[in-house]
Subunit: 352 residues, 2 copies
Amino acid sequence: MGPNDTQGARPPLRGDAGITIRDVAKALNISHTTVSRALADSPKISDETKSRVRAVVAQMGYLPSASARMMRGRRSSLVGLIIPDIQNDFYATVAKIVADSLASHSMQLLLSVTDDNPDRELRELRAILETRPAGIVIVPTALPRPETCALLQNVETVQLVRVHADLAGSAVVIDDRAGIKAATRHLLDSGHTRLAFVGGDETLSTGRERLGGFQDALAERGLKAANISLGSPRPEFARYAVTSMMSARNRPTGIILGSAELTLGALQALRALKLDWPRDVSVVGYHDPAWFELAEGGITTVRLPVEDIATTATTVLLSRLDERQTSGASEVSPGTVQFEPSLVLRGSTRRL
Amino acid sequence: MGPNDTQGARPPLRGDAGITIRDVAKALNISHTTVSRALADSPKISDETKSRVRAVVAQMGYLPSASARMMRGRRSSLVGLIIPDIQNDFYATVAKIVADSLASHSMQLLLSVTDDNPDRELRELRAILETRPAGIVIVPTALPRPETCALLQNVETVQLVRVHADLAGSAVVIDDRAGIKAATRHLLDSGHTRLAFVGGDETLSTGRERLGGFQDALAERGLKAANISLGSPRPEFARYAVTSMMSARNRPTGIILGSAELTLGALQALRALKLDWPRDVSVVGYHDPAWFELAEGGITTVRLPVEDIATTATTVLLSRLDERQTSGASEVSPGTVQFEPSLVLRGSTRRL
DNA sequence: TTGTAGGCGTTATCAA
DNA sequence: TTGATAACGCCTACAA
């Protein structure tokens, strides 16, 4: 008799998804140990027992409890993915690839969206860590809370796209500086001299690097920027920035955008101002969602190796987990992997 | 000296994220029970003890183990979201809203992508169920495996967008028939008589309903379809279908698409054929991603109440969970909630 | 107000 | 080849 043999009390939430290894054992009149071993395909169990166990398991719809398994100290099959925004095509692609890679390793994706809010980032991270995940892939906010950094020290972490100095762990990034530099050079080579840049905040590593690429390219020709607008990496900000710079006199002849979301906002602003690209202004986007090809003659853009970085991030994470498992502590230096973007020429830029 | 001061034996995978309630208790020279109660804010614990516990907890970075908590019979904070494709703007929006709603209830999103593959759907579902989630939100594949249906009977489930008869549980859907009917009528009212429809397979509930709407509208005017192409709901299929129907003689003057991905593919095909919309053919899309506004004069489309269905899905799920918790078994009839789409007129359709 | 003693479902160790 | 038993971290009925 268990603790639930009191009369009035209702059964404690059972009747749910509560088939255990012991239920299977009872049905077969064997010990639960044997069932466990049979399911683990232990060589110590006869083939006949194994197949009888498997039959009953299938018939009863038994599924092992991940929680109980974890309690015994086995590694979790969960990997946390923390990103700013899942509607952003770039991160959606990342999520897809990470999910695919994990699935092929029988692991699962715990998704958290931060909206670039450091407090939410911390809350989501705490919640994820309560599940004791195998690892974490994170696109950190601009200024993570100190506790966020502290918590991440105790779990295998890979930083994606953005890198924050206070965070340990490997990083997989894009050569943003080179990307924007190529975009800027392209417009300079086409005869433009009044160029504007709309990018993310300088508190973001990506914001700094992309701005740096723009400035590097201008410096090569001894030119000054016509306009630089930095802010939140959302369409709203680019709408505002582009609207105001295009309404001023001596407006730029070319605009370089620092993200896909900013590109969307910039095009929306031009559309609202009844300005056409490349007639009224040349535009170079960042990242290459499928629709760039369709927007009025196609958007010239910096194509990012999204597949590469996402695949690499999971590969790095999983291999570090393996190392950690075999060689005790992970002594391998975290290190950073960087991928090169490439410029795709379409109809949104023209020679002056 | 921690628990890892044994000499020869290596610590059993500890050194990881292994701070337990007992470690906190030891640091304070009190029993782990007191710590547990302090964290649960039990009235039986003195305020002084509580604050001392909280201080040490914060300082040591203790986080409760979700597994251990689950083992004690408490409900999981995980909700599984099973969708065909996270790169699809429609499902990305769904994921964002579900993630937000869950976060505000201190719950987490376990994301699975099926790629519309029933076997993968089953594998992912099994993996999710091993975590004993609180519930599941699913956009089922066209033909789920019988085991998938069987497994879903033991967990609170909400079907989203697509409805499959063999699946129990509530459903939150869009009035697809009305949506496509409105799109078709719009073209008919503009003088079109040769209309084509490109949609998803009829094995999908959405495929059947959307096709039905097209046929209903034509039947009202006593017209026949110029072309109907049904297939996989991917851009590739629409590229193929539109390319072939526009290359035939007596081609349609208007095309109605049965999904956003199909719309993308259709536009790509027209672009490749050097055909312009609405000059060479009128186009009505489905769903309204931000870029529809920017694609060559804007795409006339059927706007779907994505926010509504996603919010409702989580609301329904969470409220059913509450009912289940209070009133023993959930006896409330599952039921279906349906939302109405609306037509957005832009530049991709013209009067004939 | 605090402490002791189980037990949740698994797996690993030891014994038969 | 199989079985009994203990332990993982947490929560709670019961005892102090």
